[in-house]
Symmetry: C2
Subunit: 496 residues, 2 copies
Amino acid sequence: MTDIDTNFPETSFLEVSDVVERAVDASPRWRALDPSNRAEVLRAVADRLDLAGAELVPLAISESHLTETRLRGELFRTTFQLRFLAGVIDEGDYLQACIDTADESWPLGPRPDLRRLLRPLGPVAVFAASNFPFAFSVAGGDSASALAAGCPVVLKAHPGHRQLSARCGAIVCAALRDAGAPDGTFAVVEGDKAGRELVTHPDISAVAFTGSAKVGRMLFDIAAGRLRPIPFYGELGSVNPVFVTMRAAAARLDEVLSGFVASFSLGVGQFCTQPGILLLPVGVLDYDRIRTMVVAQPSARLLNDRVDAAFQEGLEALLHRPSVEVLAEGSRQPDGARTPTLLRSSVGGLLSDAEHLLAECFGPVSLVVEYEEESHLIEVAKMLEGQLTATVHGELDDEVVPELLDLLADKAGRIIWNGWPTSLAVTWAMQHGGPYPATTSPLHTSVGAAAIGRFLRPVTYQGMPDHLLPAAVREQNPLHLPRRVDGEYRIASGQD
Amino acid sequence: MTDIDTNFPETSFLEVSDVVERAVDASPRWRALDPSNRAEVLRAVADRLDLAGAELVPLAISESHLTETRLRGELFRTTFQLRFLAGVIDEGDYLQACIDTADESWPLGPRPDLRRLLRPLGPVAVFAASNFPFAFSVAGGDSASALAAGCPVVLKAHPGHRQLSARCGAIVCAALRDAGAPDGTFAVVEGDKAGRELVTHPDISAVAFTGSAKVGRMLFDIAAGRLRPIPFYGELGSVNPVFVTMRAAAARLDEVLSGFVASFSLGVGQFCTQPGILLLPVGVLDYDRIRTMVVAQPSARLLNDRVDAAFQEGLEALLHRPSVEVLAEGSRQPDGARTPTLLRSSVGGLLSDAEHLLAECFGPVSLVVEYEEESHLIEVAKMLEGQLTATVHGELDDEVVPELLDLLADKAGRIIWNGWPTSLAVTWAMQHGGPYPATTSPLHTSVGAAAIGRFLRPVTYQGMPDHLLPAAVREQNPLHLPRRVDGEYRIASGQD
């Protein structure tokens, strides 16, 4: 028995070929739109999704067990993101337009006129995640940034929300068509076979993926093993460690603990930025009190039966590790709703069993690791794998902090001070990524303005007549872009 | 018998481990230098190499058979490049510093202070190329851009110029030490085993490679197959096609042909941007005349006996392809000096045997492909693999040109109009890269200002106290960097 809709028709091999062929046809016309026109299309897609909220949110609830409040917020985040990225391409710096005019006296010999800009890669395959049925799914961040870049998208739907994916896909396709995007700019396919076909398809030029380490690595290997390898932007998993210094624990333990419990059990622990490890000084934790705080958390069902079963398996494996004790044991109610579990270990236990204790267990569980001296924080930071986030709760002049922050910046894409990782602003300065296994491509982000850059590659035009150049690098700057000219960055002076 | 020094001691497994360990130790101190301090160190390295020219150039001549003029120019290019990249990090935009200040009224909920910048990846392995003993070798572009980024470099020397590599390595190490760089910032290792050890070493965080498709793909596969895959920036090969329209051929055939012959035989054809294919309208070429032009080219020895043997093998394979005829047969003199070979085929021959005719044959050979109508140019462009460059010789209002340029921009990193690919300016707007197999990483360049970006990854600091932030994103902008603040790009107002 499963609550995943296994009768949903899967996309056949021929259908996938057809979808990719249409994406290839759409590609030159979609990328030929001026960024401001593409921005208008993205805003039209956002408008259409907002209008469909009354239909989409109940569908998402029925397939994901997430609450209406959460899903309404997530849909808002999704359409905000489309509009935010529309603004980013409107501004135009994302093209990195750069001009070196011809220079007879260049030290290495006469230099021709050189004009560089970024160009869309071509059709992109996006694998939707289970845990954000809107924001990391059909019209989520990966699709939005690839479309903003000028790439058609073929989206592989997540089986956890098939009806919702189909409806969102239909709405996005209709909105794109009505706003003037070429036929084939967007499509949704179903099934693991269709997904693998996309990753191997010679006309797919990049892949974005959010999901498990196991599936992500398998697809990464396929992408890297192609006759012509392609970029694979995979977000695979993270335990998002939190380090609490001795003085921070002494100054405000209650605040730290209540923040921690709220963060690790938020959304039944189903966030990629969920803090899976909390390092605390030994002796400060009142075990009864933390148990009371944890069991007071609301119960809720996980996304679906597969996620629930995987969580149960991961939890049992953790419970059997020799150094692990239970601080608060979560329950599973007859309807499947779970309360969170909190475990405890020591730094010695963690270091001797890191492979198991530092593996992501997706769901409502976290591990408190008690340390004896602050040098242990350095030891733990040194042996961490790549993370999406790392958090430090400290005091302004804690001695251990500078070295700890420097080590953590080698391991994680976002470093948080006296806060919690489970909120992810969509802004210019956001970074959502990190060294392997957090992601397969540490130079990139899947959230924020820079997410667009994953789907663009540079091209330089040499000695090209003005009318044959892309508009972005023509002499009169018809797109009003910020550009670097002869080494100097120039902000466009506004519309003519 | 070979002119490659096979008695040169190879670096042992333990020595490589030691070198990498020292690079790991150097890493936090090298990256901690302000960019302007690191720029000063790079300039000191350039000064020291310039001073050593009288020693290095003769050594390079003895190991590479290249001319003194060429090698003096190449050494100048190498030190120019170090100084140019020093200027790029001095300017500071390469850090992409970006600040979103805290905003209580951010639409998705209160936004914390977020500060993003790029951070060096860590120790980088660089594989030197054979064909540029200075500019793509020990102190070449890959080393310079990794060092500029703030990454220690372990360089795998090319066996074609071992003495020169050892001397350049010693000079770079001494210059770095004297200028205050930490011990371990740079090292040279010898031998294929040492190279493979670097690519698999857990503490190497990226690889840059210039060389053959066979070795490059093998190393790429190793890098991608690691437990923790790392970025592999490989430049593998390119045939750099040149398309001549009918009207361009009618207007100035002689100019095109003399430019072509000079370009494909420049440096005995040993440039990665050598034009390996020239598409000409059928019926315009005077076979006697082009033969005369080609045989008038000076003879010279290839880089070494291995390159010579590989060229001979590749040339013989081309000569045996059914559609290939000889226009001008090159010679090999008793001392090994070669004159260039020019071959001829048709579009039909090319399309039916593309795998062989479009494979790079490194050395003094090129192929004229005669076409019957300009639509054939489109057909050829469509079936090209990824290229470093593609060139069009055309007239301003040629009908075929806009579509041809758009197709070529999908296939190549640099598009040249009425010029030749065999010159590669070191500037802000240069792009030296392209889709596979031109490179393994189409989003990047190995020449020009953007080459530094290969060795940096983004990190965002959230809610961090000012004194714990990296200087690049502190409130008072102590490094005087251009930064994006709350979405708006701001150029620093100069030194305080």
